[in-house]
Amino acid sequence: MHAFFKLGAMDMSHWLALSALLFSIGLYGLLTRRNAVGILIALELMLNSSALNFVMFDRMLHPATVDGQVMAIFIIATAAAELVVAIAIFVALFKYRKTADVTRMNSLKL
């Protein structure tokens, strides 16, 4: 338990705990939501927490380079892309099935 409870924003374990907590909350939302958009919101939480980890590691371990920040930018871009596709699919699906409830999206046919 090396210095786990040391006070300080410069302590990596606090950042790791924060992003793990945010990721877990997102995971909970992912498993309990029924609304498709609610699931996407939970997903964004998880992606955001992982990007936070990349930036934190970049800052704490390799402050001379910015590789972690590049990764975070790619995560943000990929998250945006994934979200657009998912929303397009859900909106199209809503036109035909009149529901955004994922537990009722159980047929590949119309």
Binding site: S13, L45, V70, A72, V84, I87
Partner: protein, 189 residues
């Protein structure tokens, strides 16, 4: 020393607000409210990026996430008529599974990095200008550059734009006749 305490206070403040808002985002029964909670989490993350010295990333976070993604989410909520619907309370079993999985994940992660020695954090001094370094790295064709992923992500975004238009546009059969009960055109699905 004083600055370290100040930074810590800011860190804990941002972290606490982010966690509370995140809980709100996943349990709120109004989806629109959940989206607003998400905005708070993302804004707090931008603050944390600032704390880490990633100014450019904080700007990108606000612009892309808060300005773009959340607006998109709000559109999706309106378009799927989720705004006026109240989300069902998750059933007892579903809730239990969610708490068990999320709690287990958190416990295991916490255990993993609290039982092993993390590499020591290097002291903060950083002379390079982050934003300049970031731009150089993204467009660097050398072995440490990211120009190929950069191009791939550009292509991905283009594909996404086209794909979104194709999937979500009005289908040809969506005419008044369709509104009267005609069978919708399935060609595009």
């Amino acid at each position: 020393m004083l600055t370290e305490i100040g930074l810590s206070i800011i860190f804990y403040l941002l972290a606490a607000i982010a966690v509370i808002a995140a809980v709100g985002a996943v349990v709120s029964r109004h989806i629109l409210q959940a989206a607003v909670h998400l905005v708070v989490v993302l804004a707090m993350s931008a603050g944390l990026y600032l704390l880490l010295g990633a100014e450019f990333l904080a700007g990108v976070q606000i612009l892309v996430y808060v300005g773009g993604i959340v607006v998109l989410l709000a559109f999706a909520i309106m378009l799927t008529a989720s705004a006026e619907l109240l989300e069902d309370r998750p059933s007892q079993g579903r809730k239990l599974v969610g708490i068990a999985v999320a709690g287990l994940f958190f416990a295991i992660t916490l255990l993993t990095f609290s039982t092993r020695a993390l590499p020591p954090a290097t002291p903060p001094p950083r002379a390079v200008d982050d934003t300049v370094a970031l731009g150089r790295m993204l467009l660097n064709r050398g072995p440490t550059g990211y120009v190929l992923p950069f191009e791939i992500i550009s292509l991905l975004l283009l594909t996404v734009v086209i794909g979104a238009i194709v999937v979500a546009r009005k289908t040809p059969a969506e005419t008044p006749a369709d509104a009267k009960g005609g069978k919708p055109d399935a060609r595009l699905l």
